[in-house]
């Protein structure tokens, strides 16, 4: 046999059974470990894999059987079968990656033999793994955590959008769930009640995300500019007071405002009444409820931007303003042509981030109004519900899992679009070609 074919023979052997190629390469311990791995997978997981794949394809075929209210045959739990199937697929991806690595390893070591180079023994291999694999070891915990608790749930949610999983007729374990293709999306965009709710909630979500971001940024800038005036003494003292809204725990301040806005007993209406203005239906009138939400967000959000802009303003050279004054520029002109362009360079990336954050700011809306006041034209949503809180309500209170997952998929797409534009402008990735 020619000495030049080690790499191919080793690779083919490893394809046939993991580890054979390594044994052929005389790396017996390593080969033994790979082989043991495949053996364990074959012996203990074959059944699981077959059952998992069957489950995710069919979503079960035996409905639950009950006689006189007692469960005789538990039947198949479609949703758990789907979860199992998805986990099996993730595991298979891992196994095949490891398989690929073993073939590649056999091939490369075979290549080394062809060139007559010295082959690492097991101790050297281990050391090389520890040295070269160090970054992988560092990211493994994060990767596992994110794959199981972030990626898996997102994919799973997307899958549910293509089923009919919903209350009251398709709720396991009592009934089976089926794949229905694009039906939920068709319902969402063609049935009037659903489309109307979607369009309404979506528009408010966008309005909320834009206004909540722009308002806090400009309020923060305004306060920072006022604080930077020469006449202001004790700047630090004022700034520390203005930072207090940021320091109060978020859910506490939202709940405080919820009480202050209370239509009947709230302190804001009491104060309005005391100066002769009639009560405002802060949380019961749709327009005022939205205004109340935006005002509260303003209170909560401006300190961060004030702090940021204060830091930026100190970096602007005084000479610029002096030169402008010599040229006879007014304060407004100075702001427009010097201050504003400089601070916006620092602010825009953060504004994009804030916008994306507010787009999904479910906690705030829920604690403040729970999506109320009720909108009679909407399906499972109120006037102040944003997409995320609508999804939350449909899921937790109404069991409309499938269609709420369809809405979630739409939100995924919007966020993905956003992420794409964000990535294009990311310096950290641009300068990082390796």
């Amino acid at each position: 046999m020619s000495e030049k074919k080690h790499s191919k023979i080793a690779a083919v052997l490893s394809v046939i059974f993991m580890g054979l190629g390594q044994i052929y390469n005389k790396q017996y311990i390593k080969g033994g470990l790979w082989a043991a791995f495949e053996l364990i997978v074959l012996v203990f997981f074959t059944k699981t894999v077959i059952h998992g794949l069957w489950g995710i394809i069919t979503l079960g075929d035996t409905p639950q059987v009950r006689q006189r209210g007692r469960v005789v045959d538990p039947g198949d739990h479609s949703i758990l079968l789907m979860a199992e199937g998805l986990l099996v697929i993730i595991a298979l991806v891992f196994i095949f990656t490891i398989y690929y690595l073993s073939v590649r390893d056999a091939f490369l070591v075979g290549k080394l033999r062809e060139q007559g180079a010295k082959i690492n023994n097991i101790k050297q291999s281990m050391k090389s793994i520890w040295d070269n694999g160090f970054p992988y070891i560092l990211i493994t915990p994060t990767a596992i955590c994110m794959i199981l608790l972030t990626v898996f749930p997102l994919v799973y949610t997307a899958l549910i959008a293509f089923t009919n999983y919903s209350s009251p007729n398709y709720l396991p374990p009592k009934a089976l769930v089926d794949w229905v293709g694009l039906d939920q999306f068709v319902r969402l965009f063609s049935m009037d009640s659903w489309r109307g709710t979607f369009v309404g909630v979506f528009s408010w979500t966008v309005v909320w995300a834009v206004l909540s971001t722009v308002l806090v940024v400009f309020a923060g800038l305004f306060v920072a500019v006022v604080l930077s005036q020469k006449v202001v003494k004790f700047t630090k003292f004022w700034r520390n007071i203005y930072i207090i809204p940021w320091a109060v725990p978020g859910f506490v301040s939202i709940l405080i405002f919820r009480n202050m806005y209370n239509g009947e007993f709230g302190v804001i209406n009491k104060m309005l009444n005391s100066v002769g203005i009639p009560s405002v239906g802060w949380l019961s009138d749709p327009m005022w409820a939205k205004a109340a939400i935006l005002l509260t967000n303003l209170w909560l959000g401006f300190p961060f931007w004030m702090a940021l802009f204060t830091a930026v303003l100190t970096t602007i050279s005084k000479e610029l303003y002096e030169a402008a004054e010599v040229d006879g520029a007014t304060i407004i002109q100075q702001f427009k042509h010097i201050t504003f362009p400089i601070v916006m360079v620092a602010a825009v990336p953060l504004m994009v981030f804030t916008f994306a954050f507010n787009f999904n700011q479910l906690t705030f809306i829920y604690l403040m109004t729970e999506g109320n006041p009720v909108n009679a034209d909407y399906t499972y949503a109120g006037h102040t519900d944003i997409l995320l809180s609508w999804i939350f309500k449909m899921t937790l209170n109404n069991g409309q899992y499938a269609i709420s997952s369809a809405v979630a998929v739409v939100v995924f797409l919007i966020i993905a679009l956003f992420a794409y534009f964000n990535l294009r402008n990311t310096k950290a990735l641009k300068g990082d070609a390796h």
Binding site: L80, A83, W130, F134, P135, Y136, L138, I139, P141, T142, A143, C145, M146, L149, T150, P153, L154, Y156, T157, I160, V231, W238, Y242, P245, A247, V248, P249, G250, F251, V252, L255, I256, F257, N259, M260, N262, E264, F265, K270, W299, L308, A346, P349, L350, N360, L362, T363, T395, L396, S404, S405, A408, I415, F418, A419, L423, T426, K427, A428, L429
Partner: protein, 281 residues
């Protein structure tokens, strides 16, 4: 039109007028919640904005401990927040360091995945998380809740830590390598001590993030003995009548004070961390 002195005076009046108005706006809700907690009576309805100090009562504070499970909620919150802080800080520092200081296959894709994933809120996978935790028997347990929270904050932490290490010159690391230090030694003895400010920032952030969360807690923690403070306090004021407003106010004061103190201690790091993360992003 005006002589400069008058102009300066007007300017001063306007500026200080704005400053004082802002102080009132910033402090009023804080005052309102404090005065609510010492108001006699129970509901928002009977709360006065300016009760005379003679009327003040501290009984709502003792009610928290006698009539409600406030201590349990407090303990749960601290437990959950600390666990989340430990897990997501350690994981985030390890992976952030790897992404910043090593070249390896899949690095670019990994970073891309992290930026994209941190934009998807954990709650989007609610149904799946609910099912998954149920399947593993982790529903309504703090362990399940902490895992979900940590997974949610680890991407952000990784990104911030990476940004920080990017600013530390590689020559430092190479010098240590030449002196014969192993990967582990370089990391533990050279890099970690340098990273203390950013570690404090993400630790603080993770702690606060977990103690502030309401939605995920609402999905996972169902029984009142497992609730966190956010859930407990929400039930005190979520009804129309606000019957327990004063007790809520007392509870809110007791949670706010320590967190505000923490905030002011870490303030420097917070502003630095936020802006550093943003510039790199």
């Amino acid at each position: 039109m005006f002589n400069p002195k008058v102009k300066k005076a007007i300017n001063m009046v306007i500026v200080y007028g704005i400053l004082v108005a802002l102080v009132i706006i910033c402090l009023f809700p804080v005052y309102f919640i404090f005065i609510g907690s010492v108001n006699p009576g129970e509901s928002l309805h009977s709360s006065k904005i300016f009760p005379s100090p003679a009327e003040w009562t501290w009984s709502h504070y003792s009610d928290l401990f006698d009539k409600y499970q406030y201590v349990t909620w407090y303990k749960n919150t601290i437990l959950v927040a600390t666990a989340n802080m430990l897990i997501s800080t350690v994981f985030g520092v390890l992976s952030g360091y790897a992404f910043s200081k090593f070249r390896f296959k899949g690095k670019r894709q990994g970073l891309m995945a992290i930026i994209i994933l941190q934009m998807f809120p954990t709650i989007m996978g609610m149904i799946a998380i609910y099912t998954l935790l149920g399947a593993f028997g982790l529903l309504d347990t703090h362990l399940g809740y902490v895992l979900v929270l940590a997974a949610g904050s680890v991407a952000f932490n990784t990104w911030i830590v990476k940004g920080f290490f990017d600013g530390i010159p590689n020559s430092l690391m190479e010098a240590a390598r030449i002196d014969g230090a192993s990967n582990m030694e370089v990391f533990a003895k050279v890099m970690l001590p340098l990273a203390l400010p950013i570690i404090s920032f993400i630790a603080f952030n993770s702690f606060i993030g977990a103690s502030m969360d309401f939605i995920m807690a609402e999905v996972i923690l169902r029984s009142s003995s497992n609730w966190t403070l956010a859930q407990g306090l929400f039930t005190l004021v979520s009804g129309q009548e606000n019957n327990n407003f004063t007790v809520f106010a007392a509870g809110a004061v007791l949670i706010s004070i320590p967190l505000m103190v923490l905030f002011f201690v870490f303030q420097r790091y917070i502003v630095e961390g936020m802006t550093a993360g943003a510039e790199k992003g």
